[in-house]
Symmetry: C2
Subunit: 204 residues, 2 copies
DNA sequence: ATGCTTGTTCGGATTCAATTCGGAAATCAT
DNA sequence: ATGATTTCCGAATTGAATCCGAACAAGCAT
């Protein structure tokens, strides 16, 4: 970004640009949105875009960062509560909250997330994965039996990466083959089965 | 523009364009590759690109289609063999074969796959999912006990979508947190645990 | 308030990639 | 081998991305 916004006025401009980028991405995806469109939506001149952003990609990265930060901010406060639930309930609570979050603002974030899984973009989502990994870890700490599970890192890797992608894809589906509820059940069952099968029959 | 190649000569040109597109995408991703680069790699003039493709996106779609067809062609013949194995072995065999396939040609396909998970592109990958779904279904048919499993469609949806994404992401990882082998083990265990937990203790 | 410095906005000018198109070259059919 | 068809191409056009210096606004003394 060429400059740092010093005054309140320019902070608002940067903010308007990021918001506009999210709207444009949701509407048409990043590759189809032009700089002029973003400027128009933000209600500013084209040239102003480049005062605070190196190029179009930098704008999209900032928009992605906004999404990621909001997502993390949604997950973090849930952790203390989720950690006390059994696996199925924790998974269900998390997924329903996540869905509601993605559906907000007329699916603004869901429609953006559709474009976020190019593995080049995915690095910017790392904070989300870290937050979920944190949740996973803290859950294990509150259920020490589960620390005996084999392959915990690989399990978490698959569950988190595969889970986020699958949920976003399912919610984006035009005509889903099955309901979200069934998916939530399976998500919970898979993890619970793994734990119960590998350990014995714990879990209240 | 958008003509059909009639002669052998032009078929070769179209082929060269598709190959060139795959190479370019692997190197820099679609949004960073220019029409001129593709033409240069293919060893043809820029204008020739537009004889058989509407625009740059159409070229990328064709490249994607090539990848998808090759992938399906890799999966299909495996099915009869996989269907006779126990879950863990079947999953392992499939994943190792899939990895080798992605690693071919100096990771050409792996490096392309990195860019294929934007959910706009993902529709073109549907044949891959169908092939995997077919494998899943036929596996169940050969192990009829498993037909009693609850939520099979949702299970398959999560397992296939999440699995493909996770594998490609892991293989693309610069410095993986865990080995591919651990991931394969978890993939097998997760599915086997679900089956064994839900049914009783089947599976040889 | 006034003058000065710094921060901000903007749109015309520039640059570069995508796409078009008409003519030249190759292939085909007779 | 000649006319018809197919293919190839690169110069010209188009449009989006980016730059930049003039014009405007805010901060801050005095």
């Amino acid at each position: 970004m060429a400059r740092k916004p010093k005054q309140q006025r320019s902070k608002a401009t940067v903010d308007a640009i990021v918001e506009a980028a999210l709207i444009a991405i949701a509407q048409q995806g990043p590759s189809a949105t032009t700089a002029r469109q973003v400027a128009d939506i933000a209600g500013i001149g084209v040239g102003s875009l480049y005062e605070y952003f190196e190029d179009k990609d930098a704008i999209f990265e900032a928009a992605g960062a906004r999404f990621v930060d909001d997502t993390v901010a949604m997950i973090k406060p849930l952790i203390p509560e989720l950690v006390r639930l059994n696996i199925r309930d924790a998974v269900a609570k998390l997924l329903f909250t996540f869905r509601d979050f993605l559906e907000e603002n007329n699916q603004l974030y869901l429609k953006c997330a559709r474009h976020a899984f190019s593995l080049d973009m995915v690095i910017y989502q790392e904070p989300i994965n870290r937050a979920l990994m944190d949740l996973f870890t803290q859950y294990l700490m509150h259920h020490p039996d589960m620390l005996r599970l084999p392959n915990i890192p690989a399990l978490a890797y698959f569950y988190i990466n595969g889970g986020v992608f699958t949920v976003v894809r399912h919610l984006s589906e035009q005509q889903p083959t099955q309901g979200f509820d069934e998916l939530v059940t399976v998500f919970g069952d898979i993890l619970a089965s793994y734990a119960e099968h590998k350990l014995g029959l714990p879990e209240a």
